[in-house]
Amino acid sequence: MAVAKEEKRTILEKFGDIDRRIIYAMVFLMIVPPLLFPLNLPIGISPETSAIFKFINNLPKGSIVVLSLDFGSKIGENYPQARTVFAHALRAGMKVILMGMWSYGATVSANFLVEETKAYAQARGIGEITSAMATYGVNYVNLGIILQGDNGVMQLAQVGFYPQMFSKDNYGNKLEDLPFNKAGKPITQFKAEDVDLLVCYAAGTPGIEAYRTYWWATGKCLNLAVGAVGVSVAGYYPLMNAGILIGIIPSTKGAMEYDQLTGMIGASGLSLSTMDAQSLEHVYVIVLLVIGNIGTFAISRSRRRGT
């Protein structure tokens, strides 16, 4: 039986077809060392992130900031973004409403968000946040899930927060019993028009599109921002350039940038070492792209020469 003669390939040609197990092993080697021995690379600030920071700082105290937690996990890219903005908004004297269209984000993550921000502020001795969070329902409320997703967001714009959408908060307190208000206007009379800034932490659909359609396009709330996961960041730039979004927090790097802006390092729950690991992974992917293309070029050249 004839045995297929193994084609002799040069090193450059082998670059075009690296075994995936080697690629995986190298990913592991790129990620683990910086987590153990951080490089502490400085974080550059993107203009789209600082736009949100500046906007909150320029709002008058007592303004209403809504954080719409539209993601499905405590882990990942949106949760750190929400944590750092929540801490900043409370420190800046804003009144924060937590809610969301995704059940996990709006209920479980919102609880973690409150508990971990409280613990962070106490550990760092940040008095503004500790006092803002001392009594629930004064400076922040957790309304829980917006039932029916997009449709619920439409109802918030058309009929307001109370009573169809939220008669109770996430903990079962009646909204009329909460002292939360905007310049004396109780939360039971809130409409989309009363929201000064809405930041949607969008992991997918439903997400910012619902607010864009029913809040922004109808003129009820013109100040929208988004905390975006890495894969969908590019899709939000057209909205920002059209003036629909005031800013974007891109991925975990955006959360770290926001930490840098506020000076509250660790408010997002992320450390610089995680960013170092991400940096090396990105560089590794670029190196892989270069190697792969060198391999492809070498293979096509040898084919052209007929060797």
Binding site: I23, G152, G172, H282
Partner: protein, 226 residues
């Protein structure tokens, strides 16, 4: 008689869709108090219909996976797991109270159980899935991003620049100008392409909406039957 019933079966849903659709569009663009009130009620009604659909889907999943189990179809073991977890989560959800979201109907004190499910299963599983992405994306990028012409070369270079700009090491090596370049790529060329796609989708949606309203597109109202 049978013919009339068959025609009504087609015409009544299409008629309802036409009337409600035109009314919804009218009430959105032209404000009058009575139409606005009616629209608000219609929106609440839509929520109620949505909940009913959720209940139907619960029954549907139970039936489909119940049959899988009964006939020992391929993967029936996963059907058992799915049915068990679906009902188990329902029981846990109905009994949640205390510090966690008190949306439960009964005070069964199952919130600790729910917390364990989240802390011990959902969060670690979510983290594991996210972590795997780092491995798969590296491998997928290596295999697919090959330069085959000028278009793919431009795509590769701009992708690499955005990738570098999205990590701290990019601005560390190339300075803050890389961040500006990344923002420019995303704001200008990306926006040009994205706007074209978005406008195309919007025009297509309007055309599709008109077809549905006027009965040219029958599948949405007739459940796939022409």
């Amino acid at each position: 008689m049978a013919g009339l019933a068959r025609d009504l079966k087609k015409l009544v849903p299409m008629g309802i869709a036409l009337i409600v659709g035109i009314f919804g569009a009218f009430a959105y663009f032209y404000y009058t108090k009575p139409t606005d009130d009616l629209l608000k009620n219609a929106v609440v009604f839509q929520s109620i219909v949505g909940y009913m659909a959720m209940a139907i889907s619960f029954i549907n999943i139970s039936l489909i996976h119940g049959k899988n189990l009964q006939r020992r179809r391929k993967g029936w073991i996963f059907s058992i797991l799915l049915i068990f977890m679906m009902f188990f989560s329902l029981v846990i959800g109905l009994g949640v109270k205390k510090g966690w979201p008190s949306v439960g109907l009964f005070d069964w004190g199952l919130d600790d159980f729910g917390t364990i499910l989240i802390d011990a299963i959902q969060n670690p599983a979510g983290t594991a899935m996210f972590s795997l992405l780092a491995f798969y994306i590296a491998s997928a990028a290596y295999r697919t991003f090959r330069i085959r012409g000028i278009d793919s070369a431009i795509l590769l270079v701009s992708g690499a620049l955005v990738l570098l700009g999205q990590a701290p090491i990019g601005s560390y090596i190339f300075g803050p100008q890389l961040l500006d370049l990344k923002t420019w790529i995303l704001s200008v060329p990306n926006m040009a392409g994205s706007r074209g796609i978005t406008l195309g989708i919007a025009v297509g949606s309007v055309a599709m909406g008109i077809r549905v309203l006027f009965g040219y597109e029958r599948r949405p109202v007739l459940g796939g039957v022409e």
